[in-house]
């Protein structure tokens, strides 16, 4: 039998094929990392306990309203979004024990010891006509206020910012949960009420 000669395969088009595949994957896939503000919705109340709202004293509620024209009303007047963060922080800290800002109670945690923490709750309410962009801007400022309070707390006691703490490290994870107890993200969104007119 005659020995067949093994022919060399021309690999010149290999690059073209690979390019084709590459371009396909570039087009058909996405690489974007999703980011956003995480929130936990309150569970739907059972029918019977609909009106069983917890009694919260008026001075402990930080009222934030957004109307259909995207105007921001905080506590006693109209403000700009940029002022909201400082106001929220002051409401929670209440450094002068002012009458109209939040009351305090004692709380003992492992890492921060016994300290006075605020009983305050943010009540956020929006109109049907509020724009989503404004709503997120307000949510963001409120979150920023609480995060800054936690940052300052951790900085004071441990010289480390809250947002640099690593949840996978055991002590730091405890620290995170204690900081959350001291300054909870207490935002309560009112049940939407459909009011006539619009």
């Amino acid at each position: 039998m005659a020995k067949r000669e093994i022919q060399e395969i021309n690999a010149g088009s290999m690059a073209d094929i690979a390019f084709l595949l590459l371009i396909f994957f570039l087009v058909a896939t996405t690489m974007d990392i999703d980011t956003g503000i995480s929130r936990l919705l309150p569970p739907m109340p059972e029918e019977e306990e609909l009106d069983d709202d917890q009694e919260i004293r008026e001075r402990n509620v930080f009222v934030v309203l957004i109307n259909k024209d995207d105007d921001l009303f905080v506590e006693d007047g109209f403000y700009d979004v940029s002022e909201l963060k400082e106001m929220t922080k002051e409401f929670f800290l209440n450094p002068n024990d002012a009458e109209n800002q939040s009351e305090k109670r004692e709380l003992t945690t492992d890492y921060f010891g016994t300290m006075m923490v605020s009983k305050g709750v943010i009540s956020l309410r929006n109109d049907i006509g509020t724009s989503y962009g404004k709503y997120i801007a307000v949510q963001n400022e409120l979150a920023a206020a609480v995060n800054e309070l936690r940052n300052e707390l951790c900085m004071q006691k441990f010289g480390k910012r809250y947002d640099t703490l690593d949840p996978l490290n055991e002590t730091e994870a405890d620290l995170i949960s204690d900081a959350k107890k001291v300054f909870p993200m207490a935002i309560s969104e009112a049940e939407p009420k459909s009011v006539g007119g619009n």
Binding site: T29, Y132, I136
Partner: protein
């Protein structure tokens, strides 16, 4: 004459391209590994709002997406320009959300079901009415972990 002209005078040498496929394959594998297949064709235009207090969404398999926005230009003739909800590949009404959540949940591993997150990709010009309706439906479906999708705000101080 000058030194420099001599070299080019001899004609161009062929560059060896034998390693070109290897390079391209390397790129190909990189993209295959780091990217995720596009799952939906967007039928609504969504420009998500900016925020500073954002967190990354981990584990894409646990995340379901709800899009709300105006239908894209060439669908506006049939669907109008009012903001609509998109689930998977189709337009939906708030009533469809519960079924959507249930079916998304069933596709997940039982242990992961509690960690399910719903990412709300909502256009920043949408009115809150429809958003609130969606949120109420999510509460009824007890999908309570939500994420208001938003992109990082560029610090204006850095730009200056």
């Amino acid at each position: 004459m000058s030194k420099f002209k001599k070299a080019s005078g001899k004609g161009l040498k062929q560059i060896n391209t034998a390693s070109l496929p290897d390079i391209v394959f390397m790129l190909l594998f990189f993209f295959m590994v780091t990217t995720v297949m596009r799952e939906t064709n967007l039928k609504v235009g969504v420009i998500i709002p900016e925020a500073t207090e954002i967190k990354k969404l981990e584990k894409k398999s646990l995340v379901s997406f709800i899009y709300i926005g105006k239908p894209i230009r060439n669908l506006q003739k049939t669907f109008g320009s009012e903001p609509r909800i998109q689930l998977n590949d189709a337009f939906a009404t708030p009533d469809d959300i519960r079924d959507f959540i249930t079916s998304e949940r069933e596709q997940m591993d039982e242990n992961d079901q509690k960690q399910m997150t719903v990412s709300l990709k909502i256009d920043q010009d949408t009115r809150m009415g429809i958003v609130t309706e969606v949120k109420q439906e999510l509460r009824k479906a007890s999908a309570l972990k939500i994420n208001y999708s938003s992109r990082k705000k560029i610090d204006e101080a850095l730009l200056r």
